[in-house]
């Protein structure tokens, strides 16, 4: 049995998970229309690959790009492209972004699947297939999986961690997936092992999910994988964070500014493993995901496998609609790291693991201000990244962003432990997020101004060079002219050619007259 380690701090939270686990894994019906944001991953932008009015088949690429950190978007069902326009998307800003809108025709007709002969494929070819399927990390970070795998392959991986921890309250989509689709998760882990060739593989699941652990153990027995162990880990938030999970399982800390694979550890979420299995075995790209619909204002909470692009109000209808109030306060993600949605017309994207439908009164109304810090340092006690939240808070509030960086602001995983325990109810994470966006914006502006300086200096140089060349040319010309003049002065005085011609004409005329 593996000896487990502890990470610093963390919280024991009320899970609120039971009520969305009652109904198993449900299949969501197709809505009338699907709204697919062009970009559903972290990284570069996609370009649309379809035109308005075009008929698309399920699984057809509708947006992609050749950039490295990119994941294609596929049509989740057959239908006609209605528009490529700005629509509200699931983003903390509540802003709009370019979406491809598909009028669903209901046939659900797919492109002919053409599964490859997996046995004969090399790891690099498997990565290529995963890339084509548009797979991203489904744990919430939505980082494209194929570049992560390529990098991991290059770095060399010692330990593969399959993350089925799901530590955040309210979210149960991974739990349900492991209970009802454990075989796909296990086979997907097998493909990851083939690609990365790790020495050991841990499948980590929080011990508040005994059914999922049992189902995964059964699937692993049926489909044994080499050097693979299912590890139940204690239920402490945020044990599902990549760095925290690495520490629990291996005792190693991911160094500042590095990622897990820099120390030979590769983490992947269970949902991603299932998606990899589907992509490789059935040639089915990432067109659906399991979403938890829960909260205290929804009639029948549960988990649905929904096509990407399904508007949230469609899922709310499937879940029996709102329970108490006519509309609810919608949050995407869990109660710790989730963010409020602008409305129920926002579509499900690759990142949507959970939609919380809450009563207005449950969400504590922000008074618009907070009390002052009393320096109790509870935040530092619970911080899983071992930061000094108080110091970060003072500097972030004073907009001393350089100082926040010295206190390792960018190691903050925004888990929300500090804000939860703060007796003054200071929205600490919001301060950190604001500071991070300011620093990123400054960095972007600095990058642009550095480019402008280079271009300006290059132009100055070019103009100077041109001026020098012009001057040089003029000087040469002048010299040549002077030489010519001087040459003409030194030689025999030549008769004027015009005069000579005139003389010749005169002579000829004279001759003619004489005749």
């Amino acid at each position: 049995m593996l000896k487990l380690h502890h990470f610093h701090g963390g919280l024991r939270l009320d899970g609120h998970k039971a009520k969305s686990l009652q109904r198993g894994l449900l299949q969501a019906t197709l809505p009338e229309r699907l709204f697919l944001p062009l970009r559903q991953h972290i990284g570069d932008h996609n370009k649309p690959r379809v035109e308005i009015g075009e008929r698309v088949l399920k699984g057809q690429v509708i947006a992609s790009d050749s950039a490295l950190i990119c994941a294609a978007v596929h049509a989740p069902t057959s239908g006609t492209i209605r528009a490529i326009e700005n629509y509200p998307v699931a983003h903390p800003s509540g802003k709009i972004d370019t979406c491809i809108v598909i009028d669903v025709d209901g046939d659900d007709q797919g492109v002919e699947p053409n599964p490859a002969d997996l046995e004969s494929l090399a790891p690099i070819e498997l990565i290529e297939l995963i890339c084509r399927a548009g797979i991203v990390g489904l744990g919430g970070a939505v980082f494209p999986t194929s570049p992560k795998l390529s990098r991991g392959k290059v770095q060399g991986i010692d330990t593969l961690i399959i993350n089925g921890v799901e530590c955040e309250p309210y979210i149960t989509c991974d739990d349900i997936l492991m209970r009802f689709n454990a075989a796909e998760v296990i086979r997907g882990s097998g493909y990851l092992q083939r690609i990365l060739a790790p020495r050991t593989t841990y499948i980590a699941i929080e011990d508040n999910k005994p059914e999922a652990i049992a189902a995964m153990a059964k699937a692993l027995a049926e489909h044994p994988l080499p050097d693979t162990e299912i590890i139940p880990i204690p239920t402490i938030y945020p044990s599902g964070g990549e760095k925290q999970l690495v520490q629990i399982l291996t005792g190693k800390e991911v160094p500042h500014g590095q990622l897990a694979f820099d120390i030979g550890i590769f983490c992947q979420n269970v949902g991603t493993c299932a998606a990899i299995t589907r992509a490789l075995e059935m040639d089915e790209p990432l067109i659906s995901r399991v979403v938890t619909i829960t909260g205290d204002n929804i009639a029948h909470p549960g988990n649905w496998e929904a096509r990407l692009g399904t508007p949230i109000n469609h899922l709310i209808e499937l879940a029996g609609g709102y329970q108490h109030e006519a509309s609810g306060h919608l949050v995407m993600g869990g109660s710790m790291m989730g963010f409020a949605l602008s409305g129920s017309d926002v579509p499900i994207v690759k990142a949507s693991n959970c939609i919380m439908v809450m009563r207005e009164e449950t969400i504590p109304k922000s008074p618009g201000y907070h009390d002052e810090c009393i320096r109790c340092s509870k935040c530092a006690e619970v911080c899983p990244a071992q930061l000094l939240p108080q110091q970060l808070y003072w500097h972030a509030r004073a907009k001393a962003y350089e100082r926040t960086r010295e206190f390792h602001l960018f190691d903050c995983i925004e888990c929300g432990c500090c804000s939860t325990v703060c007796p003054s109810r200071i929205p600490l994470v919001q301060y950190y997020r604001a500071a991070k966006s300011e620093i990123r914006a400054t960095r972007k502006a600095q990058f642009k101004s550095d480019r402008a300086r280079l271009r300006f200096e290059f132009r100055e140089k070019r103009l100077l060079l041109k001026k020098q060349q012009d001057e040089e040319r003029r000087r040469l010309k002048r010299e040549a002219l002077q030489k010519k003049k001087a040459g003409a002065g030194n030689g025999k005085p030549q008769a004027d050619p015009v005069q000579a011609a005139l003389d010749r004409v005169k002579a000829r005329k004279k001759l003619a007259q004489e005749d």
């Binding site: 509030r397 929205p427 919001q430 101004s449 402008a452 300006f456 290059f458 132009r459």
Partner: protein
Amino acid sequence: MFVAILTISLMAGVFGLVLGYAAIRFKVEGNPIVDQIDALLPQTQCGQCTYAGCRPYAEAIANGEAPINQCPPGGQATIVALSNLLDTEVLDLNAELGEHLEIPLLAVIDEQICIGCTLCIQACPVDAILGAAKQMHTVIADECTGCKLCLPPCPVDCIDMVPTEQSIDDWKWPAPLDPLELVQDA
């Protein structure tokens, strides 16, 4: 006594030679403070500071000829950064020179009207306009600094300054309301 004087003079002479050599060998080219100031300026090269570009303004600041509040594109953030660097007082932006825009501008050429005179190309300080004589010109949006220097030379007035498009990536998390500010407002 005599030995002591001789020793000290000898040492002074040796150190003097070393220092003199070091001053020549490790001579710093240019004025490093100008580089540091220049690095903080936004490099729009717009000339709103009344100097012919960011570097001339940086030189003027370094020589004490210009105050640090003459850069509208940089705004208050640049003034604060400059005051930190130079350890001087934070000033308010000189409003006579222009106002600071939160969202930078982008020059857009109306290609229907453009006659291809190349005057704007010659005016652009960062070579962000592409075109040739009697050919349509266009602005390379990523390189445009929004300095407006292409506007005056255009004989047909076909260049517009529009705010750059703000995508979801440019969105910033708003900071929480500061309780102290609320108290001050009340």
